[in-house]
Symmetry: D2
Subunit: 316 residues, 4 copies
């Protein structure tokens, strides 16, 4: 990570808890690959504080059983990048530890935990709002439930249903898609840019770079296409502190590419296209969306940290 | 535009037709602002061919009636960037000709027409598949209809319904959202990158940078969240030319961030949050999605042209 | 120009005087091409202040006599980019108005004048310290002389000698090289970066991008190669304000890539390799170094403005 | 390293020999710090070939005796970045292993060795042409001498003199500056760009980013300032293969920012400003220029590899 402000208190203990959330093998609902995902800080920290110079973080692979991937060398797995890699590069590293492995998201989570320090005061939360076509009930939304089940699910009843749903998929060798929602609260008005680095554009790019993500919405997203102009606009009234108070937030806290001070909300769909019959011996996730939630949070933090610094550069 | 390959035949006549498609005031369904949108090539072309040096294109504003915007100076329009600009920069250009004007998309369309020359052989088409909550009937899809109505609508029956729908919205001072689909055919396998400039990530960023866009899907997008792994995977069988033939395209022609050789499809939602009662005298679009279709095409062309050149840099 | 802070007072009158310094045809010692170099601000300014959105500046070419360049179409001029352009692009715009024309430096000067506003308080001065092998006498250095002769020469006696020298070169159809020194005073300590965007690296890149520049030194530069370590080091003693006072400045105000608070000094050599016998009818400069002085100042301002904003981004 | 073409044969054995040239402690003329500088390839290579995905190289620090740096914590060393770091970041890592350590150049050399594979056919050689004010005799230039003495000196007689010179400096606790010349042969015409990524600008930036470098010249550099236009121009005559043959190379193989097909030559001055009396117990180089020669070669290779790929992107 380059460009991190100096003087932020940082140790491995600030990073590890976020990695542990993403770590595989913590429940029967994620891949059984055993990876401790221990992070080491190699540079950029001195006397417990960031120095302003590049921060190098290292997470080693431990559980590498290359035999698992032997069939992959011979066949293109549908829904995987195998063929596309071959078409691009002329050959591919078929062992599964390469660039197309979801393991690379560990690096994102580690970096995201540093980005959180840069935007202290902003609270970021990602959770699943739908799995396998079964949505949560918004009236049952309970923030404290998110960490109380293996699905980052804010609706305890939905979490119970998903357990059965996913057990079924897992046993039949299938997999399920999920919709992840991520909300950032405390983002001040003014981050982002009018045109080519719009905050929503940066968020879309970041989320779509996560493996298996195929859709992204800001605020109401596609549902907004069905609203009339009057319904979709976010009315304001003057607030006590002189700043406007928004009476709705269809725009997801971003207007004209710039944060409005409302909470920024992003929804993303994560779904693997992996067919089960080809990849019988590999260890994979029956629902990649589960482990994607901490990654989505990390990408939100990284984008916001960049935008904070860019805003400070220009406006001071 | 910098980095354009040299030797491509280019004149204003290659650019103007695309601008004319986006031009306001061509039907009663778009803003009545009169802008000829005539493009001039200022640099980068010699003897009718691109020189390889930067291409500078100029489109002048003609129809500027600043009086129209006088109310805007005093109030924040809901659904607009007014407040966010003020919060960021401390003040704003309230005349409406600035960075938040949809007029900037003319530049994108002009640039996109040059990008099309760079990716000759790729066919790009954008059209509306839904307006105001009323979707097209896919069984009535007719490619030749797209340019035969003012809505870029491939379903003649839907186009008729939309005419009434939009007349209603226009008369009541409201506005409607739309869903635009964009398909690129002829994209060779291998464009894009595994991680930080994934083709889908670049497309998401480009589309989300268009004014009023709030959602983006690649391939099946959010619908994929409801499919099982077997259904969602795109099976292949060996083709006659040695390359695989894909039997489905849920992934929208992008696997692991790299084009697979299937057609690349993107869906995007465009919807203005403008409430009618504030902005009575301004000239605005009752459905911004209509004029967004040529812009979406342009952004697709620009992203693909970049990716083609990046791929050529690395792989030759 | 993108990224300029908002709220800076800016009009054409802030830019034009700098352009006038670089303008051709103001004395017999520069090309006789007549260009008014009038700048127009097309965007990014409202109510006399920068808005924070991109500033577009326009300077039109007026004096274009393309006949002058007819011979050039048929031959490669030694010391010019003709052959290299052909080798790169397959053909070239031989009319002389293209990318290899020194006219592009007008844009740099215009942009530099805006950059000066960003770094208000920093004083930048460039002047010639040698022409055609004849150096100034440093003991005769007089700041007020710089604008009092057509050579930006701080030594009145040298200016007289150069007049004769350059008249001779001009009449024989030859040309002379020059060494330009540029000093920035008031640069606070802390701008720059330790490694890949070192302040000296950025300055070298910027200066070397000016046409006909072939060498660059920071501080003592090549002369430092002949000093011992003790002589070359810049000793410090504690100053009254707690900050160190430097007793020497061999390093040109940059230590480890970061400004030290001493004055930043750069020396650069500007020399055209144009042979006279080929290009008899073109209008060119007998000493390109003269008109390069305002360009060198502009590039210094642009680099420092960037570094100021980058520093503010990271450190606040 | 990102963007490396796929399919290049690469193993640690391709990198290590270049690192060994830069390695400290190989003669009494460099720092006595003992670092094996063993490189490991962590990613980006499969079956002995580059995969096209990022190549991660690791060189661990072994000989860290932090006690050596205890005095540094308390004082600003003249000629070092100590004060500038403190001014920028508010504090600094005084142990000497940080960003301002010359050890970071090991990474450049490692990366440069990969870049050499990208530009196979280009031959790069750097050597010292002057030390402590004592230049080589160009008539005694012998390519085979460069690796036959500890100074990368192509003149055996000069190498003998420098031995005595440097012993003297070392014993008195002083240090000497050096001038390094780097020549690339086999660069095809056409690499580089007309304006903002001129080949000479990129080279200047790269060389000036090496620690203690304070000056850079392309071709004749500052000496060109003393030549007349006729002398300085590089005449061409038609060659047997249709391409021009250059009869001189004052411009260092770069015309208008683009390589001309002549050999590219760069000269750079490397000199540490370290005063001996402050840093008595640290281990440092009596002439940093010696170990800089392999670094200069590496930076030349890296710039040329980038330019090759950029050229291929645009022109194919």
């Amino acid at each position: 990570m380059d460009g991190c402000p100096p003087g932020l208190a940082l140790s491995e203990a600030d990073i590890q808890p976020w990695l542990d959330k993403r770590r595989p093998g913590t429940s029967r609902f994620t891949t059984q690959r055993q990876e401790p995902d221990q992070v080491r800080i190699l540079s950029g920290v001195f006397d417990g504080k960031t120095t302003g110079t590049p921060i190098s973080l290292m997470i080693e692979n431990v559980d590498q059983r290359s035999k698992d991937y032997s069939e992959v060398a011979k066949a293109y797995r549908p829904g995987h990048a195998d063929y596309a890699y071959d078409a691009k590069y002329g050959f591919r590293d078929y062992r599964g530890g390469g660039r197309s492995s979801a393991r690379e998201t560990a690096a994102r989570v580690a970096a995201g935990s540093v980005a959180r320090l840069v935007i202290a005061g902003v609270r970021i939360r990602a959770y699943l709002v739908e799995m396998g076509g079964d949505p949560i009930d918004r009236t049952l939304f309970d923030d404290t439930q998110i960490d109380a089940n293996p699905f980052f699910c804010p609706d305890a009843a939905a979490a119970s249903r998903w357990e059965a749903l996913l057990d079924g998929a897992r046993k039949s060798g299938s997999s399920l898609g999920a919709i992840i929602e991520c909300v950032a609260e405390g983002v001040p008005a003014g981050w982002g840019a009018p045109l080519y680095a719009k905050l929503d554009s940066e968020l879309a790019s970041a989320m779509m770079s996560i493996n298996a993500v195929k859709g992204i919405e800001i605020g109401d997203g596609f549902a907004a296409a069905r609203l009339t102009g009057e319904t979709n606009a976010d009315p304001m009234r003057p607030g006590n502190d002189g700043n406007p108070v928004f009476l709705a937030n269809h725009a997801g806290g971003v207007a004209g590419g710039i944060s409005s001070g409302s909470r920024t909300s992003v929804e993303t769909i994560d779904r693997d296209g992996e067919a089960a019959d080809i990849m019988t011996r590999g260890r994979h996730d029956p629902c990649v969306g589960i482990r994607a939630a901490p990654v989505v949070e990390a990408m939100m933090a990284l984008v916001l940290a960049d935008q904070k610094l860019l805003h400070r550069a220009q406006v001071g």
